[in-house]
């Protein structure tokens, strides 16, 4: 991994980078004053987003992830950039969990976990001007969902 500058973390697209990514996000959020329980849940959301990029990256050719984290004025903003083929997590429908349990399904819950943790996910796909897809996760700390 590489710390490009304070608050920005760059890692290869490998599952072996996930622990380092979580440690970075947790440290950044808690040193900026965020409650550790909320920081932990946001680490999970980032893990799920990055795992999704990495594990589906074999066909999407991800090689690099860049993560930056900000927390101020009651708003957490975590930006995850990747150079894989475009994939908007918002395009995935929420599963019916009762059917999921009844059918003993498995897999496919990462995006649902992200959805239940954060208040919004904004996806911008790479284009001719910008080689990076960007997923912005945001969470309002004073919202009723905390």
């Amino acid at each position: 991994m590489t710390m490009l500058e304070p608050g920005i973390y760059s890692a290869s697209a490998s599952v072996h980078e996930l622990a380092g990514i979580r440690a970075f996000v947790f440290e950044r959020l808690t040193t900026q004053g965020l409650d550790s329980n909320i920081a932990q849940s946001l680490c999970l959301a980032v893990d799920e987003a990055c795992s999704n990029i990495i594990l589906h990256g074999q066909e999407r050719n991800a090689s690099r992830l860049i993560i930056d984290v900000e927390y101020s004025n009651g708003l957490c903003r975590i930006r995850i950039k990747d150079n894989a083929k475009t994939f908007d997590p918002n395009s995935v429908k929420s599963p019916d969990m009762m059917s999921y349990f009844k059918n003993f399904s498995y897999g496919g819950l990462g995006i649902e976990l992200m959805r239940r943790i954060v208040d919004g996910m904004i996806y911008e796909q790479a284009d001719a001007k910008n080689q990076w897809n960007t997923l912005l996760l945001h969470k309002y700390i004073h919202s009723p969902r905390n």
């Binding site: 622990a19 329980n37 920081a39 969990m97 819950l109 976990l113």
Partner: protein, 122 residues
Amino acid sequence: MQTQQAFTIEVHAFDQGRILSLHGYLDASTSNILDQEIQKTLADAIHKIIIDCTDLTYISSAGLGIFMKHIDAIRKHGGDLVFCSMQKSVYTVFDLLGFPILYRIVDSTESALSLFQVGGES
């Protein structure tokens, strides 16, 4: 919160069952270790399984998926997965998606053992 310790499993036997004590973090980089241990347990025709989470510091959907992958086969053989001694942060992840509806989660290994003795699952 997350330590950089990876993931290991300690295995202990009880009656016709097995306790898998998980240590470290369970994510997309380590979930295959758990998958292999459960497969090995099932290959030994053991279907009463206690997952001791005392030292499990973190779980993501990759870890949850391994339990879901095997629960149907385990219950079809009259067994079960019972979870015990979960740290609050790990329980929160199970709870976020409603997994306590599906699994029995208790506060100690003794409670988990007594569920198998009372329930009579084989």
